[in-house]
Symmetry: C2
Subunit: 227 residues, 2 copies
Amino acid sequence: MARTLNPQSHAVKRDAFVDVGQRLIQTKGYEAFTVQDVLDELDASKGAFYHYFGSKADLLEAVVERMADAVEITWADPMSRPGLSARERLEAVFALTAQWKNARRELVLGVLDAWMSDHNAIVRDKLRALVASRMTTLLTAILRQGVADGDFSVTDPEASAHVIVGLVQTVQERAGELFVARQDGRIEKAEVSRTFEAFAEAFERIVGLSPHTVRFVDPQTIDLWFS
Amino acid sequence: MARTLNPQSHAVKRDAFVDVGQRLIQTKGYEAFTVQDVLDELDASKGAFYHYFGSKADLLEAVVERMADAVEITWADPMSRPGLSARERLEAVFALTAQWKNARRELVLGVLDAWMSDHNAIVRDKLRALVASRMTTLLTAILRQGVADGDFSVTDPEASAHVIVGLVQTVQERAGELFVARQDGRIEKAEVSRTFEAFAEAFERIVGLSPHTVRFVDPQTIDLWFS
DNA sequence: CATTGACAGACCGACCGTCGGTCTGCTAAA
DNA sequence: TTTAGCAGACCGACGGTCGGTCTGTCAATG
C-alpha cells in the first residue's frame, strides 16, 4: 500500500497559503508580493508551495474564489428566508453589503490603497467577474419573484439582472473613487449624496419602482465615510 | 550652450516605441511581452528605450492614452456639429462606436483573445478609467442639453452621466462575453438580442424616454457579429 | 571669423538583482 | 515498497541600471 492523500489535512495546509496570499494581496498587491514572501510568513519551502499550487496565478484564483464566497455568504440569509417580498430581499441584500463594510471599517481603510493600486488590477478584474456571475443568478431569482408579484416591471428578468449587477458594481467602484476624492478634499459630501441619489433614481426606473422609494446607502453610512 | 532638445524628432522617436507597444499589447498582452520584444522590432537598445520611458509601465500609460484619444476622436463630429438635438447626438455617438468596430472587424477579431486575456487586465482597467472620465464630461453636456430642451428627464445630469457611462461600459464588456459565448456555441442569437434590449430598456427609463425608442445596436450589427 | 572647449542629448550594451518556476532527493506514512 | 509531502539548490528570463561613447550646439577665445 502506498501513502494516500488525506483531503482534510491537505485542505488545511492549502488554506494556510491562501490565507497568506489574501493578506499579501490586501497589503502589497498581487503583482508586488513574491512567492518568497508567502514562504517566509509560513516558514514553508518552494517545494511545499508548488506542491499545493501550480503557479502563483493559481494562488490568486484560490484567493479570489474565497473572496467571492465571503461576498455570497453575506446574501445567504435574506435569500433563504421564506415569506419575504422581492423588495425586502433586495433591500436586505443592499443593506447587508453596506453593514459588512461599516462593521469592518478599519480593515477596509487599511486595505483600500493596496486594493486600488495597479498591482491589484487582475484581482479586481477577476473578483468582479466572479461576483457578477454569482450575483446575477441571485438577482434573476429576485426579479422573477418581483415581476410575478407585480412589484417590479421588467421585460426580461434574466437580461435585466445583468444590467442591474453592472449598475451595482459601478456604484461600488464609483464609491471608491469618491471616497478617495473626498479624502483629498477635492469634493464635498453633497456631491457624494447626489451621486448615490442618481444611482438610486436609475435603479428605481430600471426596475419600475416609484421615485424616492429606494436608497442604495443610508445617510448615516454616507456620514460615516464621507464627512 | 549645449545641444538642444528637438521636440519634433523626440516625439517621433517616442511614438515609434508607442506604436510597437500597442501592437504587442494587442497580440501578446502587456504582461506577456518584454521590453526586449520592443527593442527587437525597432532595432533599438535598452538605453534608447529607457531614454524615452522611465519604465515599461510608462510605455503602457502612453499606449492607453493614445487608445483613449482614438476613442474620443470618434465622438468629435456629433459633438461639434451645431443644431443637433441631444437625442441625435446620443444616437450618433452610439452609432459611430458600433460603426468603428464594424469597419475594423478583422482587427477586432484578431485582437480579441489577447485583449481579454489576464495579461491585459491592467490595460483594460486603465483604459476603462480614462475613457469613463472623458465620456462623462461629454455625456454631461448632452444630458444638460436634453434636459434643457425637455427631451430627457433626469434630476442631476452630471451624476446621471456617471450612471450612464457605467451602463455603456457594462454593455461593451457584456458584448465581449456574449461574443465569446456565441462562438463557443453556448448561447443563441436570441439571447444576445434580449440582452441588448434589456440594456436599451434600462437606458430609456434612466433618461426618461418612451419605451422602444432607443437601440444600442441595430439588428444588422447583431447579425454581423452573432449569427 | 574660424576654432575650440564645454556640455547636454541620444544613445549603447554589459551587467545585476529579483523572481517565478523546476528538479533532485529525502523522509515518513500507508 | 510506493507515494505524499516536503526541502532547497538551481535555472533562466526579465526589468532596470550604469559607465561610457558619439554627436550636435553654442559661447568664448585668439
